[in-house]
């Protein structure tokens, strides 16, 4: 490995091999990433870089490697979404209301990564409190997608809310990244940047120490450059955690072992309700291509019906804001973060929350407060929760009928332009999550894997949805798509 740019092109699996073979050191690798981050600040993927911490962690990894005591992610440089509490390091959920907050504790997910030897490069930009589909709601400004349309210099969004994570992985500013997904926030940005993202089953990764948005929907997961790398990262992120009462007592699977296993005989459901009116011919063709690849690999394709699909998005936009309005009540200017004085304590609360929250967050808190208020609770919130039961039942019935996984497009389109949706109604922006949100409502695992380029040479992704705690099946199927489609890297312009 001669030049530093070579090192940032390695996958996590290749890093593991290279470090073990002493082809390069963890310190050299980390330095290569720090240099690429410095050169890519125009993308605004990182909110803060932590070079001193990164080099100290890399040095510790080099010691472990020298002693032959390398752990699963020894020396692997990662970016961490700003939603995860990192001890002594900026943690603000990309919001002004957590101004200067530096937790004195570490989230379970990041603690798991550091215990496995990973190196932290910095905190990644995101939509404020993970509310957004374009990474334009961040207090720290939008992230720019490293991909551009062919022949155009116009900036595109990386998707959201894990836009910093996806952009950093695609632009080789980290070997992999943590992300979170409440309605599509891992899978949609992965699809927009040609990266691989998995939202595991609800309860697979601990939520302890991760800033809460909608607690019954939030799940952490990785964004990576390959299916194998996503499997390696998920293995370390996932755990059974006594500190999260919704953490499920199921042993963490052998995800990497599943990569490359045959998919012969697996039954893949193709839900007719995902064929939307006005869906672009390119998305339809991508989906058909995915079906053909899985069929060639020996999977059996079956048409299925998930009749309540169309109600998932409107139900989500009742349930998620309701939970958010409750979770975000804690930001009151007393215990941490921003405080804006007022005449009395009530006006101090009101002024603090008015100045500290961005517009998208305020709107969701207001909707949530409204649908939970006296007289509307049954009409909106309870009805949406009943519909959630029906959405989950649709999947339960398909799985009971022998379907092993479901294949759908990941998003209705490729990445769109920065500010392109500025004048659109919020509902139009929410339609980005139309294919992904059902998975959160039902608590299932969902994998987004790049499957091709559109006519403007922008990446497009497919989504695989699995049975609860059967992430292995998704990694098997995802590898088949990756083998057929290849991997996708943006041309460097930054």
């Amino acid at each position: 490995m001669s030049s530093t740019t070579d090192l940032t092109s390695l996958t996590i699996a290749e890093i593991r091999d290279g470090l073990t073979a002493k082809a390069f050191s963890a310190t050299e690798l980390t330095k290569a990433y720090l240099a690429s981050m410095e050169a890519a600040r125009d993308l605004n993927a990182y909110i803060i870089e932590t070079p001193e911490q990164a080099l100290a962690m890399a040095a510790a990894s080099d010691e472990k490697l020298a002693k032959g005591e390398a752990r699963a992610l020894e020396g692997v440089p990662l970016g961490i979404k700003d939603l995860f509490a990192t001890e002594g390091v900026h943690t603000q959920a990309a919001s002004h209301i957590l101004d200067k907050f530096k937790p004195n504790y570490e989230s379970t997910v990041t603690a798991n990564l550091w215990n496995d030897g990973a190196v932290m490069l910095g905190k990644l930009n995101m939509d404020e409190f993970a509310m957004g589909s374009s990474n334009e709601t961040s207090y720290y400004g939008p992230v720019v997608n490293p991909w551009r349309k062919e022949g155009s210099n116009a900036p595109l969004v990386p998707g959201g809310s894990s836009g910093g994570s996806a952009a950093a992985v695609a632009a080789r500013l980290c070997a992999g990244a943590t992300a979170t997904d409440t309605g599509g926030s891992i899978r949609q940005p992965a699809a927009f940047t040609g990266t691989v993202g998995i939202k595991p089953t609800y309860g697979r990764c601990s939520r302890w120490g991760t800033v809460a948005f909608a607690s019954s929907l939030d799940q952490a997961g990785p964004i990576a450059r390959t299916v194998r790398d996503a499997a390696i990262l998920l293995k370390s992120m996932a755990s059974v955690d006594a500190k999260d009462t919704t953490s499920v007592d199921v042993p963490v699977g052998n995800y990497e072992g599943a990569v490359g296993q045959s998919v012969k005989g697996l039954r893949i459901g193709i839900p007719r309700e995902y064929r939307l009116d006005g869906m672009s011919a390119e998305i339809e063709a991508l989906w058909q291509q995915g079906i053909a690849w899985l069929k060639e690999a020996g999977a059996e394709i079956v048409d299925i019906s998930l009749p309540h699909t169309k109600y998932a998005l409107p139900a989500y936009y009742i349930v998620a804001p309701a939970e958010a309005s409750s979770n975000l009540a804690r930001y009151d200017g007393v215990r941490y973060g921003l405080r804006v004085p007022g005449e009395d304590i009530a006006s101090m609360y009101e002024n603090t929350r008015s100045a500290g929250f961005g517009r998208e967050v305020k709107r969701r808190i207001l909707i949530g407060t409204y649908v939970l208020s006296a007289g509307y609770y049954d009409a909106y919130y309870v009805r949406a929760q009943r519909i959630r039961t029906l959405i989950k039942r649709d999947f339960d019935l398909a799985f009971a009928a022998g379907v092993d996984a479901v294949l759908t497009p990941a998003t209705p389109s490729a990445a769109f332009g920065l500010e392109e949706m500025a004048l659109a109604s919020p509902v139009e922006m929410y339609l980005n999550d139309v294919f992904t949100v059902t998975v959160n409502m039902a608590g299932l695992p969902g994998l987004a894997v790049p499957a091709g380029l559109d006519k403007s040479k922008l990446p497009l992704g497919l989504q695989l949805i699995g049975r609860p705690f059967e992430e292995e099946t998704l990694f098997r199927l995802g590898q088949v798509i990756e083998d057929a489609a290849g991997t996708f890297t943006p041309s460097k312009w930054w």
Partner: protein
């Protein structure tokens, strides 16, 4: 169902978010767009369907009722915008 300006202001007060007249007006339009989008939920027959409160069929785990952490008040108040002698300081609440 749709909300009027007075309702937006009432909800904003319940949520402890100060809003200007202008903001209240623009939130009104957006909230009504979202509530309008949610209208389609009324098409679904939910008679006899239980609301989903957990996607995982697992009884809520309970921890032993013992002290596992603590005794560092200075760290607890370490991030407070205003604190004094390990107490959070707020504007006067009781006259």
């Amino acid at each position: 169902m749709s909300v009027d300006i007075a309702t937006v202001k009432r909800v904003a007060h319940l949520a402890r978010i100060a809003v200007t007249e202008e903001e209240a007006a623009s939130f009104q339009g957006e909230i009504n767009a979202i509530l309008g989008f949610a209208e389609q939920l009324n098409e679904v027959d939910v008679e006899g369907v239980e609301p989903l409160t957990s996607v995982v069929a697992q009884t809520m785990k309970k921890r032993e009722d013992v002290v596992t952490d603590g005794f560092y008040a200075d760290r607890v108040v370490g991030n407070a915008p205003v604190s004094d002698d390990d107490f959070f300081v707020v504007p006067k609440v009781v006259e």
